[in-house]
Symmetry: C2
């Protein structure tokens, strides 16, 4: 019997690469995305494109009541910081942090996994590029894995423990892109920018664009997505 896995899919390159790893490991993939009032809803289109291209079993898009997340640069109109160095990005918790977002996302993934008696959840968190996000750290993932195994039917009665897979957690953006290219990820379908223009073009200067462009440059190839104006990869 083919094993099933839930893969959290934002449409960014970390989650697209994570999905490719799950497929490579032989899982049938149920992709899960969220609509939570994010300003860059273009990422949901990217998630759909990535899911479709990878022949997932199904792609669920869950509406999340954004009222609960309060203020964050990703859901409100606080300015997204631009042109920062890696050092600046890693100072304290960024304004782009959304309160408990990964806990909420993983909870939904867990509910879905439990309803499907599925033991495997993949999430594309990364602790190097997002060192300031408390919910991207391995100790957080480990704690959530305990919650998963203690708080569900599948965890308590299932044949195997529930595992939260984080295949890109320790990789640099350059290593993630290298891995994805080896696995055949089509990065032209992915989207990373925090501040796309109205046509959905990436800004090239927010933290997400900066990291992405650096990752492609270090792999010696051109980022296949389009950027506003002159910020080409």
């Amino acid at each position: 019997m083919v094993k099933k896995a839930i893969v959290l899919l934002s449409g960014g390159l970390d989650s697209a690469t994570t999905l490719a790893v799950a497929k490579k490991e032989g899982y049938e993939v149920v992709a899960l995305s969220f609509r939570y009032g994010q300003r860059h809803s273009v990422e949901l289109l990217a998630a759909e494109a990535v899911a479709e291209q990878n022949s997932v079993v199904s792609h669920k898009v869950i509406d999340i009541d954004l009222a609960v997340f309060g203020q964050s640069a990703l859901t409100t109109s606080i300015d997204v910081p631009v042109s920062r160095s890696l050092e600046e990005m890693n100072e304290s918790i960024p304004v782009t942090y959304v309160p408990a977002r990964n806990t909420v996302f993983l909870s939904y993934a867990l509910a879905l996994a439990d309803s499907l008696s599925c033991n495997d959840i993949f999430i594309g968190v990364n602790q190097l590029d997002y060192a300031g996000y408390p919910d991207c750290r391995p100790e957080f993932i480990k704690a959530f894995e305990m919650v998963a195994n203690l708080g569900t039917r599948t965890g308590v009665e299932g044949e195997a423990v529930i595992k939260i897979h984080t295949p890109v957690i320790d990789l640099t953006k350059t290593e993630i892109i290298k891995l994805g290219l080896e696995l055949g990820v089509d990065y032209s379908k992915t989207h990373s920018c925090y501040s796309p223009d109205e046509a959905g073009l990436a800004c090239g200067v927010c933290d997400a664009c900066s990291l992405r462009l650096m990752g492609f440059a270090e792999n010696g190839i051109k980022d296949p997505i389009k950027y506003v104006g002159s910020h080409e990869g």
Copy 2:
């Protein structure tokens, strides 16, 4: 400064009593309820009445996309079991278990707490009456507390650790009602039934009604809510 707490409020007697404990301990209460396709939506009206009577700072009702919960007797048309003994109720995981429900609920409470820089969350879980629910056990709550402290700004940078308070977790229904009466809880506003009739009257025979009626009887008083037909407290 008055401390603020998030209190998960279903409108049942466990959560109404938990809210009274939070107030007694001096917290300003932000009540949080969920609309998740539950068949007994009359419980949301009860939650509103309980919140109003207890002068909470605010009462948030969050919509949860029920698609994720799959099949359960509380959200679909599976028959709710009736007239069971305590022993029968505690055999394995009941059909009324909703996959990862308390994890999802606590995640939202955590997101709200984090956005308010609040360290205290109250939840009226009980492990005696609902021994079959994995997400009503103290070890689950402890694991979620770790998630809360590792995965949020408030947990990482806050002055105090985040605490998940479960004041009724070890109490029998009889003890919960006794405590609530001492704290002035008006149980006429609460609602417990899994299978209310169209007018919202409690059935008197589902597990929730059975436990509730037993609890009032053992306190030597009449349950102040109305029941269908002859199933009076």
